[in-house]
Every structure is written in structure tokens, then in C-alpha cells.
Symmetry: C3
Subunit: 204 residues, 3 copies
Amino acid sequence: MSADPPLLLVLDLLGVAVFAASGALAAVYAKLDVFGVVVLAAVTALGGGVLRDILLGINPPTTLQDWTFLSVPAVVGLLVFRWHPAVARLQRAVQLADAFGLALFVTTGTATAFSVGAPGVTAVLVGMITGIGGGVLRDVLLREIPTVLRREIYALAALLGAVVVVIGHELGLPSFPVALVGALLVAAVRVLALWRHWNAPVPR
Amino acid sequence: MSADPPLLLVLDLLGVAVFAASGALAAVYAKLDVFGVVVLAAVTALGGGVLRDILLGINPPTTLQDWTFLSVPAVVGLLVFRWHPAVARLQRAVQLADAFGLALFVTTGTATAFSVGAPGVTAVLVGMITGIGGGVLRDVLLREIPTVLRREIYALAALLGAVVVVIGHELGLPSFPVALVGALLVAAVRVLALWRHWNAPVPR
Amino acid sequence: MSADPPLLLVLDLLGVAVFAASGALAAVYAKLDVFGVVVLAAVTALGGGVLRDILLGINPPTTLQDWTFLSVPAVVGLLVFRWHPAVARLQRAVQLADAFGLALFVTTGTATAFSVGAPGVTAVLVGMITGIGGGVLRDVLLREIPTVLRREIYALAALLGAVVVVIGHELGLPSFPVALVGALLVAAVRVLALWRHWNAPVPR
């Protein structure tokens, strides 16, 4: 989101596509109609960025100003609607891609907060919300308790990545390598959690 | 919403009243208390406009600045609370009035986005959200998967109307006739969908 | 929230702590993991203030700019996660403390709306939303119909307190005593509703 160089834009659209696929698949399982599937794809893919911009006072939200960011979830939503059994078989690949999407959204969200002059604590929270907000909206619309609050070290991975970016910023380190380290940390924690079936403790 | 001439204001309040009735009736069925019924009436009637203003950076939202817009859902909520069996018998009339309310909210929402300088793509989305946002909030608060994403070509009607207004704006056509055509299209699609039991395709 | 004198800050943090405990306890019952419990504590404690600031155009929301306001729900969330049976036995004390938290949030929310120049009607609504918003978000995330709309004269108490503050403001009365009267009214209505098992009428 809000990335200038071509490489970042491509990564960004890839993250949007992956989140859109997760939203569309959940909507298919909930028996929404084709239009609902596309809306869920868009909400899941763009919701985190919209929440970020609402909290930071960026009006209208940047991802709602660009056909590119909207056409990706629309196309992904239609593809998933038509070929969802095939997408469901790729579940493991989708989860890995989702780890990467989360990593990207958390680090760009944190950076966006700094770009409008927010303090470190706000940047951590906004980065985390950018990463997990779309998934939370998806689950609320589908009447599920948000998965990210229940399983597999998801929100914690987002928090760790955002904290790394904020610490790097406070120390005055160059922003691109710091963002890379933060993103790799998010992705690594997610992949390890999936692979090793890590879960956070639940109440006794 | 935010309409100047008396006719538009009356139409606007009528749209608010119809959406309020739909929210109050759903709240009655969900066994909310009288205060919850009034709150649901207000959220359903004003929620779309509030989301519109949050996304466009209009603070505080215009419909929260005027007793008129609040007293209508309050009165409607109390009437429905007391006489809900009679209102439920008018179901078909309420659905027709709802089609008209949707048409109005979508077109004024799209126009409001243009009035603050938003680009066309944002105007389409904001118009759609103005129209369907109140119903989505109603369903989320009542723990339902939003009806508009599941049935009867509701969100699609909103999208079509918003697109017509945006195309008219991009072509430089006069805004009132364009808004009228957009609104009639929304209402016509809704009435046809209800009458012919049109539904969008669902996943196999 | 946003209180300057030390006494108000302490009261404010106490209100945050109580709301955090209610959110954490609900999350424990819903079997969220430890991280989800902390997130629910934070959302319940800070959600009303964040909604207030979004509606008033205060960006980023003030409670997201201060480690103090975040560390309280984090600590409370962890304590409740570990010792929730003990907290559950204190249910009556938690409910009384919650009445006090609601009183505080409603009156400071109403005052914040006036401080940015909002009209009276907006101040009433924003005050009410500041008080009940966190609880509504808690219930939506846990897939419950919001308790405040169903039982025990909760939202009505908030409304009454906000109206008192607004009337005092419109009459030009000194703000601190007016806020005190408004807060005491909220707390008194809540305590009476709990003690006498008052409920608002439900539909026949």
C-alpha cells in the first residue's frame, strides 16, 4: 500500500491478492453469493489499509482511490468463486503466501504511521491493525470470532514485526533494511507457527 | 442526507424513516429491549451516512449534527416497538420503500464524495457504502451475516446506481438528471429482484 | 481520557482498568488465547475513546498515542488470563466499578466533543458512544449481540448522563460540577438497575 518503486508495488498487489483469496474462500464456505464473495475479498484485502488511514486521518483512504487496488480483489474473488475447490487444495501455499502478505502489510503500515508524524506507540498499533484488520473484518462479517485472536500466533507475529520497525526508527537506522528485517521476522514466526503447530496458551 | 432543497430534505427523511423501520423490526425479532430497538433504528438509518463521512474526512458526521435526523429513527423505533405486528404485515410495502431509500442514499452518497473532490473510483465505493452500510451494521450488531451479501441483488443494485452517477459526472452531464437516472436504476433493479425472486449465483 | 489534573488521570486509568477486566474476562470465557485476551482487554478499554476520536476527527486517536493507556489493558489482560477464577468471584465488585467507569467515559466523552466545537446533539451521541462503544466492540468480536442493547438500562444510563452534561453546557453552568452531577447520575442509574434488577421493556 502506498508504495512508489515498481518492486514494492508488485509486492503490495501480491499481498492484496493473497488476502483477497483468503476472504473469498471464507465467503464461499459461508455460502455467500458471487457479489458477496467479491465484497469479502475486497474487505479482507483492503480493510486493514482502510482502518490504518481512518486512524491516521488520511481521507479518503488511499486504497480506495485507485482502480488497481480494487480490481485485484474483484478478479481474485471471481476466480475463487469459480474454482474454489482448486484453491482449497492449495491451502498450504495460500497460508505461506498469507504469511508474506501479513509481513508486508505490517511493515508498510508502521512506516505509513511514521510518515504522517505519529509517535512510536501509535506506529506499532497502526502497523498491527494494518496487518490483521482485514482478517478481523472478514471474520466479523462472516459471524466468526476472529481467528487471529484464537490461534497460531498470528497477531503476535504482527506485533513483533511492528516493534522491530519502530525500534529501528527510534534508533535512526536506515528504514529499508529495518523494514526488511521486520517483515522477515513476521513471515518467519508465521511459517514456524504453521509448521510446528505453535499456539499461544489458552485459559485453563 | 445533506440535501438543501425542501423536496430533497423530505425524500431524505423518508429514506431515513424506512431504513429505521427495517432496523427496528430486526431488533424486535432479536428480542432487544426498547432502547436497543431505538439504537438499531438509528444505526441502520444513519450508519451508512456516518461511514461515508468517516471515509471522506467530514468530522463530525453531518447526520450526527442535526436533531431532525436523530428524532426520525427515535420516533420510528418507538412506533415499531409498540406496533411491530402491524409493521410486519406491511412487509411488502416496507421492501418497496427500502428500494427507494437505497436509491436515494446511493446517489446522494456518490454526490457527496464528488463534492469533497474524491476521484471517481472513491465515489463509486462511498456511494455503495452509504447505501448498504447501515444494513451491514444492523446485521453485524444482531449477529447475522449481512443479508445484502447473500441475497436478492442488493449490493449489486447499489453498485450499478453509483457507477451511473460517476459516469455521468465524468462525462460532464448535468448532475440532477444523472442522479435521477441512477436512483431509478437502483430502485428498478431492486423491485425487479424482489418481484422476480432474482438472486445472484451462489457457489457450487 | 485526555485528562490533565493528576486526580482525573488516576480516575481515567481506573476506568480503563475496569473496562479492560470486563473485556479480558469475556475473552477468557470465549476461549481466546492469551494474546486474544490482551487484545480484547485493550479493545474494550480503549474502543469507546477511539470511536469518539474518529467521529470528532482527532487523528491519531489520543489513547493510541500514550504507552500508559496501552500498558494498563495489557497488564490487566495478563492478570485476568492467569487468575480469572478469582476475578469472576469478584463479579459484583467488577459491576460496580464498571458503573463508575461508564460514568467517567460518558462525561469526558461529552466534554471532549464540546472541546472541538461540536454542537449539543453531537456531544450527546459522542458521549454515549464513548461510554458504550468499547463494550459493543467487545461483544461484536466475541459474536454476541451487544449486552448494552439488551439488558439492565445500560445505554439509557449513558444517554441520561450525556444529556445532563449537554444541558449544563447550553445553560453556561460551570463545567466541573455539571460533569460531576452527570457522572453521579450515570453511576446511580446503573447501580440501581443492578440492585433492583431493572430492565427496559422488551417487545411483546
